[in-house]
């Protein structure tokens, strides 16, 4: 009886396992293999680490990696905006549940939608130029300048991300024991004092979590924004690693090079994730 039900249980997991193994676990192994070869997808010529060596010597890769670090500016901005909104929400005034849904709104939208909203707004005929025009300014071509372009993408990241993350921080805030606040209030601690000495230290775990997911996000998930807003241009000035993987994969005759880049990205994100779990372990211990 036991043996039979064990068999049924295993059979129930099996379809999922086969699909995940075939289309997620195997591809990870396969991409490692591809990255060590020169290939057009049909024939594979074994190269050992040549793709990687070329990658590390490639000035475009250096530039693109540096671009990713420019997008890291968005991390403190998102967290700051999220923190302010979370603290406001925490006061739990009337209708805060409604605001919670509003804050979540950008998170249900496709990056294509978010990207196009920002591209339209900052386009030559866009509302930003029209608005500046009211004060007699000439319309600007924002997207021919990489600094403007990066700024616009960062703005899109902040706009679309802060609401959801303020909800994460709010969950952290609500788990603080209210007695701590009351005690501080009795001791005569002001609003600011309470914020610095009680609120922030108590949510440092959630803050750390939000910091790291944002950091990882700027290295792994900008593809949609870049594709829609700037297409990586001008030249490679707004191209990120994940976008470069896409470009290399479908425009060059050597898929191995694109695969090597994907593997480098994968290990980099793996390191970040490891770092994240280390940070959490430390925090649990203290």
């Amino acid at each position: 009886m036991m043996r039979q039900s064990k068999l049924i249980g295993t059979l129930a997991v099996l379809p999922s396992f086969i699909i995940v193994a075939g289309f997620m676990a195997f591809p990870i192994v396969f991409v490692l293999f591809i990255s060590l070869t020169k290939t057009n997808g049909l024939t594979f010529e074994w190269l050992w680490f040549k793709n990687y060596l070329e990658l590390f010597a490639d000035p475009i890769v250096h530039e693109v990696f540096l671009n990713n670090f420019k997008f890291v500016i968005s991390v403190p901005l998102v967290i700051f905006a999220a923190l302010v909104s979370a603290i406001l929400l925490f006061e739990q005034f009337k209708g805060w549940k409604f605001f919670r849904v509003i804050f979540f709104l950008p998170s249900v939208l496709s990056v294509v939608v978010i990207g196009l909203i920002f591209r339209n707004a900052f386009g030559y005929y866009g509302s930003v130029n029209q608005f500046l025009g009211l004060f007699g300014n000439e319309p600007k071509q924002f997207f021919i300048n990489s600094n403007y372009s990066i700024f616009i993408i960062i703005l899109a990241l902040v706009w679309s991300g802060f609401g959801y993350q303020s909800l994460l921080l709010l969950a952290g805030l609500t788990s603080i024991n209210p007695a701590v606040f009351e005690a501080a209030a009795i001791d005569g601690a002001g609003w600011w004092r309470r914020l610095w000495s009680i609120t922030l230290p108590n949510i440092r775990r959630v803050l750390g979590f939000v910091f790291i997911i944002n950091f990882i996000y700027t290295f792994s998930s900008l593809f949609g924004f870049i594709f829609v807003i700037t297409a990586g241009g001008p030249l490679y000035e707004t191209t990120t690693i994940d976008y470069l993987v896409y470009l290399r994969a479908f425009s060059s005759s050597n898929l191995g090079s694109g695969a090597a880049l994907a593997v480098v990205l994968y290990f980099f994100i793996g390191l970040l994730t490891l770092w994240q779990s280390q940070v959490f372990k430390l925090q649990r211990e203290d």
């Binding site: 005929y125 979590f209 994100i269």
Partner: protein, 260 residues
């Protein structure tokens, strides 16, 4: 607080308002109140620029993928939560360890695997990819939710002679309804909004999904903002409707996302 909410609402309101006016009217006074309201942009996009077809394609692919995810994930989740499974630890480790793989890393191998299977340019390949990328979280989520089902109920069903599927259908499914609904909403949003795989796996213009179609319309009609805005609203409408009517489920999913 209202100011913060306005920074989210105003751009969306602006998109909707813009989509309902002609390009000439928009260029004359973008921030003013439109002289006349029109649905022309929607009609043009839907009928002439393939957005109607793309909408249906996206709906078909998303619904199919979500249904498959729900079936597979609830079966696996039920087994992992309540039944003895050979190598349960191995399965769980596999599902968890692939959960955080970023999409762009896998585009090259997945493309090659699907090309070898003759599934590029075909919905079956795309749906398989969506199911595979959605399953790890879905299994994690349903395992967690089904653990809450009381063992006594399952034991009682077993004593009454109910087999695996009977128990799954008459006990696990009804008791797990709200978890399954949460999962359905989250997975639907994920597939509906997905861009990279729908972009690289489907090239035939008749079969294109909504997000790539919208992206290319945005690039082609740079100077016609009302038209692109209509496209934006068509794409955003479905998730917005879901947020309106199923926000309860979305918020519940959010909490589990944090617990992860």
């Amino acid at each position: 607080m209202c100011l913060v909410a306005a920074t989210i609402i105003y751009p969306l309101f602006f998109v909707v308002a813009t989509s309902l006016r002609s390009n000439v009217d928009y260029k004359r006074d973008p921030f003013g109140i439109p002289k006349e309201w029109t649905f022309d942009n929607y009609l043009k996009l839907w009928n002439e620029y393939g957005v109607g077809r793309a909408f249906m394609n996206s709906l078909f692919v998303s619904l199919t993928a979500v249904t498959l995810i729900l079936v597979f994930a609830t079966l696996a989740g039920y087994a992992l939560a309540k039944l003895p499974v050979f190598g349960a630890k191995f399965f769980t480790t596999t599902f968890v360890s692939v959960m955080l793989i970023p999409g762009p890393v896998l585009i090259i191998p997945i493309y090659l695997v699907l090309a070898r299977l003759g599934m590029v340019g075909d919905y079956s390949g795309l749906i398989l990819v969506y199911v595979a990328t959605g399953l790890p979280f879905a299994i994690f989520f349903s395992t967690l939710s089904f653990r809450a089902i009381p063992d006594e109920l399952l034991e009682a069903a077993r004593v009454d002679g109910a087999g695996f599927f009977r128990t799954y259908w008459s006990i696990v499914r009804p008791l797990g309804t709200s978890a399954i609904a949460t999962l359905a909403v989250l997975q639907f949003l994920g597939t509906w909004n997905e861009l990279i795989y729908s972009l690289i796996l489907i090239q035939d213009s008749k079969m294109k999904l909504l997000t790539p179609t919208l992206a290319s319309i945005g690039k082609r009609f740079l100077t016609d903002q009302p038209l692109t805005s209509a496209g934006l609203f068509i794409t955003a409408m479905v998730p917005l409707l879901m947020l309106t009517f199923a926000s309860k489920y979305i918020m519940r999913g959010l909490q589990v996302g944090l617990g992860r």
